[in-house]
C-alpha cells in the first residue's frame, strides 16, 4: 500500500489499520516505527483550539516528500520503507493529522529514521495550518 503524501481530512483508522495489516508482508523488516501527529486542544488567551485546517502545495509536497525519503534511505541504509501521510482540510482536536511509518531491518535505525523523518517534514513539507478556536475565530501558525 502506497498512500503518500496527502489525504483529505483526518487520517482514518481504516488507513492506519490498512498499513498495519500490510506490515507482515515486509519480511525483510525486524522493526516498524510509527509516529502519529494529533491535533492538540491548545488554549490561547482563554480560547480553545477545536480544529486545525491544513492546506498544502500538492506538487511541491510530492517533490519535497521524495527528497525526505531519499535523505532517510541514504542516512539509514537499514531502512526498507518510509510512508508519510499528512492531512489537508479540517482535522478536529484529538484526530490524527500526520502519520509516519518506517520499517527497517533492526530497531535502532527504525526509531532514528522515524524521528528524523518527522523533523524533516516539519522543516520542508509545504503545509500550513490555521488553528480554529471554539468561538470560530482563527490563527495562522
Amino acid at each position: 500500500m502506497r498512500v503518500n503524501y496527502l489525504t483529505d481530512g483526518p487520517i482514518s483508522k481504516k488507513l492506519i489499520s490498512g498499513l498495519i495489516e500490510k506490515m507482515g508482508e515486509k519480511t525483510d523488516s525486524g522493526g516498524h516505527m510509527v509516529f502519529f501527529g494529533q491535533v492538540r486542544a491548545d488554549e490561547i488567551d482563554g480560547k480553545k483550539v477545536k480544529a486545525i485546517e491544513y492546506s498544502a502545495y500538492e506538487e511541491l509536497v510530492r517533490v519535497e516528500g521524495e527528497k525526505i525519503k531519499k535523505t532517510i534511505f541514504s542516512e539509514f541504509p537499514d531502512v526498507k520503507s518510509v510512508d508519510i501521510i499528512h492531512s489537508t482540510g479540517i482535522v478536529k482536536a484529538g484526530e490524527i493529522s500526520l502519520l509516519v511509518f518506517v520499517s527497517a531491518g533492526h530497531r535502532h535505525q527504525a526509531m532514528q529514521a522515524c524521528s528524523k523523518t518527522v523533523e524533516l517534514i516539519k522543516e520542508n513539507l509545504p503545509v500550513w495550518k490555521k488553528e480554529i478556536f471554539d468561538d470560530d475565530s482563527h490563527l495562522w501558525k
Binding site: 498544502a56 500526520l98 517534514i121 509545504p126
Partner: protein
C-alpha cells in the same frame, strides 16, 4: 506572456485569493513588486518562493506558463 501565482497559508487570506494570473512580468523580483503594489500588507509577512515546484531564493527570469508560489513558513505536523 502570463504567469500563474499561487498564494498559500496566511497569504491567501491577505490577498483574498488562492491564485492569480499576472501579465508581462519579467522576473521574480518584478513580480514581487507588482504583488506588493497590489497587496501592500504582504510586506509584513515572511515568505519563500518556488518556481514550477522548485524552491528558489534567486531573482529568476519568468516565461509564459510559469507557476510561482508564495509560501509562508511551513507549519506541517
Amino acid at each position: 506572456m502570463e504567469v500563474k501565482v499561487l498564494f498559500f497559508g496566511v497569504l491567501a487570506e491577505v490577498s483574498g485569493t488562492s491564485f492569480k494570473h499576472y501579465n508581462n512580468v519579467k522576473s521574480i523580483g518584478d513580480l514581487k513588486l507588482r504583488i506588493q503594489d497590489e497587496f501592500p500588507e504582504i510586506v509584513h509577512y515572511n515568505f519563500r518562493i518556488s518556481l514550477n515546484s522548485e524552491l528558489t531564493d534567486n531573482d529568476l527570469m519568468l516565461k509564459s506558463g510559469d507557476e510561482v508560489a508564495l509560501m509562508p513558513p511551513f507549519a506541517g505536523g
